[in-house]
């Protein structure tokens, strides 16, 4: 066991963050079904240990880029659940003032460059930020999160190469949840993803993505290395999404994977894995866990309530925010 860096308080804090993400996602699905959120979302349930383990190794000035499945990355880096729910509901209090929705939530102030609707698109932006950190002699690190599917996008492979040749302070975090929508990674790539990254000249590791402590320890090594100026690296986290690709596809989920496979992975639910570890090492009682869960549930309900109180943006602001500088009649509206 390599829990050297991790005291009980840190483990509990990671558990709490994972529970926050889990509850956020469960309630998001319910709010979609209830029509309070009028859009679909890609849920992070099952993959919480990756965002939480990695983010625990980061500080506010480090930046992340995220994916279509971004809620977990944002919460793990300190995103405010109220402003996230408000964004999902299209309200003014939302992070993007109701302009972005699930796939574009960002908080530049917290170093969250944002979710992204285009697979692989965040990785070069992380490299660009890292290049500026390096030029300015700042000790910050950039972390692009992306899926196994993104490993076959040209722009991501181009980014791996650039990060390697420039020795950028980037830690690429690949969430290998085995599928890109319905396509199994085993049929879409040959060889291991970490080996592919290594071939670009990156330091590459693979970690159990269902174990938040293990993810944290691996991420800490790679982040420290990047911060010290020793260059870019790649962390493949072996994980699994418990739910359908997105909430729109819930009905048709079982055409490409079996219930038995999902069940096997659920047995390694990252929340259970961490709770069991706390129990074994620190005698964390069932009651302690229940108290954290109750506290998180209350926080989420409070966030939803406050988000729902925020008004929707008015129609006369629909053309706002596209440009830093506008001109008379520009940008043009629907009719003259």
């Amino acid at each position: 066991m390599t829990s050297s860096n991790l005291d009980a308080a840190s483990l509990v804090s990671m558990y709490r963050q994972m529970r926050l993400i889990r509850r956020f996602e469960e309630r998001t699905a319910e709010l979609i079904d209830a029509g309070e959120i009028r859009a679909h979302a890609h849920l992070y349930i099952g993959e919480e240990a990756v965002a939480v383990g990695v983010s625990a190794a980061l500080n506010t000035q480090d930046i992340t880029t995220s994916t279509h499945r971004g809620h977990g990355h944002i919460l793990a880096k300190g995103g405010d659940p109220m402003r996230m729910f408000a964004e999902l509901m299209g309200r003014k209090a939302g992070y993007n003032r109701g302009r972005g929705g699930s796939m574009h939530i960002a908080d530049l102030g917290l170093g969250i460059f944002g979710a992204n609707g285009i697979v692989g698109a965040g990785a070069p932006m992380a490299c660009g930020a890292a290049r500026m950190f390096k030029n300015r002699g700042e000790p910050h690190v950039a972390v692009p999160f992306f899926g196994d599917g993104a490993m076959n996008q040209g722009v991501l492979l181009e980014s791996l190469n650039v990060a390697a040749i420039w020795d950028l302070p980037v830690v690429f975090v690949c969430e290998n949840n085995q599928y890109a929508i319905t396509s199994p990674i085993a049929e879409m790539s040959r060889g291991s993803l970490a080996e592919r990254a290594a071939a670009f000249g990156l330091k590459a590791e693979t970690v159990d993505g269902m174990d938040a402590a293990a993810v944290f320890e691996a991420a800490t090594r790679l982040v420290d290395r990047a911060r010290a100026g020793d260059g870019a690296s790649f962390l493949e986290c072996r994980t699994y999404r418990f739910e359908a690709h997105n909430t729109a596809l819930r009905a048709s989920d079982l055409t490409y994977r079996t219930a038995a496979e999902i069940e096997r992975w659920r047995e390694r639910d990252p929340l259970t894995v961490l709770a069991q570890r706390l129990d074994a090492e620190d005698g964390w009682a069932q009651g302690d866990q229940a108290a954290v869960d109750a506290e998180v549930n209350a926080e989420i309900e409070d966030a939803i309530e406050r988000a729902g109180e925020s008004p929707r943006p008015s129609a006369d602001t629909a053309l706002d925010h596209m440009y830093a500088q506008t001109y008379p009649g520009f940008p043009a509206g629907v009719s003259e």
Partner: protein
């Protein structure tokens, strides 16, 4: 015989029939095995993995692979799940497939079809999943069609597959589940052949894709005000049925262009310049455009509505051109 089919079922039938007709037809796409949406349903079972080819998330390569397959005698169909996925493939579309034939001095043509699914906004898909990118490809010279009914979807897709040049088929997301009557036997709707979807004498409303149904509904409301609108659907955006459009304008003398692409350098801008240059003498009022605003589609439903062309602003524009004297 005709039956009621949805848009995607009609497209599925066109693909089934063209694959049976011509062994050279192959389909490239992503996540094909889980295609719940219907346009590719059953094709893999009928024609196998060698003709219905599942790719990783690699749009640029997928599009270039199709160009190579076409140069090698294939007749590829490329399936983009969402309209914005043509953007990662942009070089292969506009700088390779579109340009190669001329640069090769006519040694070869690229008989590729691009099925651009899920075009346009549908409430809450936000900035990166709500585009109507036909002006980009039209500007690059890629033949482009956009059906407004299941019957047109089948006939236009069939033509696209048979055409020896790249043809993009833009499929409006709002219509994918819409049903309509479709003939069972194979048929093709020629390019450059628009259609009058409603005959009228007072004003020509040019509408395409999902806006055709909106324009038809507005025409009924306008009829109650004594305005008889003609609804003309180009169907084939490039090449355009210039004679068909000019004939309608000659009859009515008033034009409103109803188009869900951007205002600046959008499709309506091209139509407007054609009408202004060619039909000036027929016009009784300035041409009006009701288009998508020149901004990224914002997420929230009613701010999204504000930046999209709609019936309210179409009807206002029609009243304005009718009032002109």
């Amino acid at each position: 015989m005709t039956r009621e089919l949805s848009f995607v079922e009609a497209m599925n039938e066109a693909l089934m029939q063209e694959m049976a007709r011509d062994d050279a037809v192959v389909i490239f796409g992503e996540n094909i095995r889980g295609q719940g949406r219907g346009e590719l349903r059953g094709l893999q079972d009928a024609y196998g993995d060698d003709r219905i080819i599942d790719l990783p998330i690699s749009e640029a390569a997928m599009t270039g692979i199709a160009t190579g397959a076409a140069l090698a005698g294939g007749r590829p169909v490329v399936h983009f799940q969402v309209s914005s996925l043509i953007f990662p493939a942009f070089d292969q579309l506009v700088d390779q497939a579109a340009k190669l034939p001329l640069m090769l001095g006519g040694q070869a043509h690229v008989a590729a079809t691009y099925m651009v699914m899920g075009c346009g906004a549908s409430g809450g898909r936000a900035g990166q999943h709500s585009d109507n990118p036909y002006p980009y490809l039209i500007h690059a010279g890629i033949k482009s069609v956009m059906p407004s009914t299941p019957a047109d979807a089948k006939g236009l897709l069939t033509t696209a597959v048979r055409e020896d040049d790249p043809v993009a088929v833009f499929v409006p997301v709002r219509l994918m589940a819409t049903k309509g009557s479709v003939a069972e036997e194979p048929y093709a709707i020629p390019l450059a052949q628009g259609e009058v979807k409603r005959t009228g004498k007072d004003v020509t409303v040019v509408a395409m894709g999902h806006l055709v149904a909106e324009a038809l509904a507005s025409a009924e409301a306008l009829a109650a005000d004594g305005i008889d609108a003609e609804i003309w659907d180009p169907r084939s955006l490039l090449p355009l049925d210039r004679a068909g459009l000019a004939a309608s304008v000659a009859k009515t003398g008033r034009v409103v262009l109803f188009d869900d692409s951007h205002r600046s350098c959008g499709y309506a801008a091209e139509l407007s310049s054609f009408i202004g240059e060619t039909c000036f003498g027929d016009l009784k009022a300035p041409i009006k455009r009701v288009t998508r605003a020149d901004v990224t589609i914002p997420f929230g439903q009613h701010i999204e509505d504000e930046v999209l062309p709609d019936r309210r602003r179409l009807e206002q524009a029609v009243h304005a051109v009718m009032a002109w004297s």
